[in-house]
Symmetry: C2
Subunit: 470 residues, 2 copies
């Protein structure tokens, strides 16, 4: 419950209509897309400007009230769940695309702008914003920046971080700072633009961002390579990269995922093969056909049973959409869907895929695996039921084993979803005690009262390490 | 002078031969490439491993001795000058290229490796490391990372930061941490890889780095566009980018620079024109010729008096080398050469070039301007004599006016050289009091004793702002 005095002051700042604390509105923002996390906020506040955010943050600091910034709540690691109560900050009023600068190739946006709207608007001007998280139809740019979101085009074009040029941020003391600029080069001080990108709202509240755009590639081509052998598919991925081709997209789907996706999307995906690679290249037409030919050859050499080029743009779009719908499709199977994003160096993809299958057998858990194979970023997913405690325990053990294996292979516990609260107990496995300690020093320096999305990234306890099963 | 006990302990850690405190060796490391900065260190220490660095840092922490890490001392902002004494850390033993990983397209190096050696070694394998600071023949990768160095290829390929994937760092408490990995995607915790990149040795000591490589572009083409009008050259730059062409290199040299460079390099550069653009594109042959044609057309439309394609690879290399030698050439003119790197959004290049000339006239200072026009990163340079105090005062005022103008145009006080000690008094102009305050909180959190390259980035006093002259 909100302190009465605090609530009155909040209303003075944000307006009565922008401070909601009815049970209904609190319930709506009590969870995000992560299973197993739910907690009521004390209020939901929708500021209209950076100055209002600053005033709200000062109030929260004074009254020691947690603040959880939230876009569309597509987070998969509990990052936007208000697990310690406090206020959820919504950006429904701060959702504008402020400027597309065609001379400097930048776009300036408010945090609540929807990713796909931005992509469509810049593409209408012949420009390209590559980061394309699967949730882009509803995800917001603020959420993408806070999580450093990836997507299907990450292999060639990088992730959100690679496109953030400047930020306006409200710090825990209410200070409004601006980092970077419309500048290709800027070394004036510490790289706050990138420190805040991916910091999951634990260091400050993002209120504006300037993003880099690039010229739209001329053409794009799409193909599917089908395999009866998982490892052959994984080997194709390594061989393509080692062959010095960087495709725009290089996605992997295993048979269980294929079946579920086809059942959902009904676009004629093959379900009788063990794995599929979805491969795309973009750029000038000649170059694209040359690369596609070379990649098709590599796939065939690595025992692809068939390599099929998409014949039309519609067919290609259907394939991409099907891939993006994997989570939605899997979510229909059972009440609880747990999707992870362990990531390994590209060279280790085959080993990781094999290990995931072995781990699934060991813990008697059916794991569907798909993901951005070219990045080494896999999404092993389990459809389960949170009410079945015995099975949930096995699922958790299986994921712990997957994280351990990823780290053993030189990888990480999260490639693009973030740590949030769900993966916080595993973070020390990747960073070590000293790494966590240094991060905590920075967190405490910028947020001494611990009001900025508390409980995220930093865990109360690190999970005990398991013995890897393979 | 070193405390005797401290020195004995240092020798125990690093070996007698690696702890030098003779007057001669202290003198050698008392300055870097920045005019006006000189100060004797108490000793020069050359560690052989990260563990030795950790032990040295612990000792320095115990005895409150400053540590200044140093590559080849090509810093232009006083960043590697031991202005508060202490020890200069050399990496002559930690200079190896440890691994080139052709499957993951990475190279792992020690900080003392020379940039050009790395570039040559990876190019021999058909791979490409784009960051190419003009000092690359002698600069080290450790220095490049600490300064987030740019170069001629920054426009298309980005700067050092865009290629750092993983770091090993020794923190001020002696902890050794590892950030990142051979991973295209990694969001496990704060982005320490980028926070430390460009932090100028003020947060920790870099002991190893893994850098991203890309496939070597197939071909490269080079041309010179000559102008009798500075602004026409600047307009051509904006129009090329707005035309959605991103050339590999887009360098600008004004007439005073051209004359000096030609006098130095004697390769037949035109000295009877007001400005030259050096333009390069790389990639597949067809694409390169298409882009070069389009750019030549734009230059002609914008009143280039001549556009000349380099006929041979040797001619192209001579042009690039001449451009890279600009600082050396200018340094021959007078005892003191002050080179700055104010940076503006690309669209503001014409305004900035005009302003620099006006500022030169106002303060009666001859400014030669060259630089990475495509990035908006200019290097206005003054050849002067530090012993002429009256002139030096005017030079300083002129540079203050240049910084002020750059910031007014949405730019920054340094694009690629770093803040160091020289530009620290101007940093608040760019970041504001709140920005400096937040940076200082991080510095204090990670380096509570203030031993890591003290006096750099953070100034005792901010310089008073001047009134811009145009």
């Amino acid at each position: 419950m909100l302190n009465k005095e605090f609530k009155e002051k909040l209303i003075l700042v944000a307006g009565k209509q922008n401070v909601e604390d009815s049970n209904a509105s609190r319930l709506v923002y009590s969870y995000d897309a992560t299973p197993g996390f739910q907690s009521l906020p004390d209020a939901v506040v929708s500021p209209r400007s950076a100055n209002e955010v600053s005033e709200i943050v000062k109030l929260c600091s004074e009254y020691k009230v947690p603040i959880v910034p939230r876009g569309s709540g597509t987070n998969l690691a509990g990052g936007t769940c208000p697990t310690q109560g406090g206020i959820v900050l919504l950006f429904k009023h701060m959702n504008k695309i402020l400027e597309i600068d065609e001379e400097n190739l930048t776009v300036t946006v408010q945090p609540g702008a929807v990713t796909l709207d931005l992509i469509n608007q810049v593409e209408a001007k012949g420009l390209f914003y590559p980061p394309d998280p699967s949730s882009m139809k509803i995800s917001t740019i603020g959420g993408n920046i806070n999580e450093n979101s990836g997507g299907l085009r990450g292999l060639k074009y990088g992730v959100t971080r690679d496109y953030v040029m400047a930020l306006e941020i409200v710090l825990a003391n209410g200070d409004i700072i601006r980092t970077g600029g419309k500048l290709a080069k800027d070394v004036a001080g510490y790289d706050f633009t990138r420190l805040f990108t991916g910091s999951e709202g634990t260091l400050g509240i993002l209120t504006e961002a300037t993003l880099k755009l690039i010229p739209m590639p001329e053409t794009k081509s799409t193909m599917l390579a089908l395999y009866q052998d998982l490892e052959a598919a994984a080997r194709s991925v390594s061989k393509i990269i080692a062959g010095k081709i960087i495709p725009a997209t290089l996605e992997f789907l295993d048979q269980p995922t294929l079946k579920v996706v086809e059942d959902f999307a009904k676009i004629g995906l093959p379900t009788d093969v063990k794995a599929v690679l979805l491969i795309e290249q973009d750029g000038p037409a000649d170059l694209v056909s040359k690369d596609m030919l070379k990649m098709a050859e590599i796939c065939k050499q690595e025992d692809a049973v068939s390599v099929q080029l998409a014949k039309t743009a519609e067919e290609a779009e259907a394939l991409r959409t099907a891939r993006r719908s994997a989570l939605s499709a899997l979510a229909r199977l059972k009440p609880t869907t747990i999707l992870e994003d362990a990531t390994v160096p590209r060279s280790e993809i085959a080993k990781m895929v094999t290990a995931i299958n072995e781990i699934g057998e060991t813990y008697n858990v059916q794991i569907c695996t798909f993901g951005h194979a070219g990045d080494g970023n896999l999404h092993p997913t389990v459809a389960t039921d949170a009410r079945n405690h015995e099975e949930m325990e096995r699922v958790e053990q299986a994921f712990a084993a997957i994280f351990e294996k990823a780290i053993e292979l030189g990888g990480t516990i999260t490639g693009e979803h973030g740590v949030g609260e769900m993966k916080a107990p595993y973070l020390e496995w990747k960073l070590g005690t000293a790494g966590i300690h240094a991060m905590k020093a920075i967190k405490d320096a910028l947020d001494p009262n611990g009001i900025m999305n508390p409980g995220k990234i930093f865990a109360k306890d690190t999970r005990k390490r398991v013995v890897v099963t393979s």
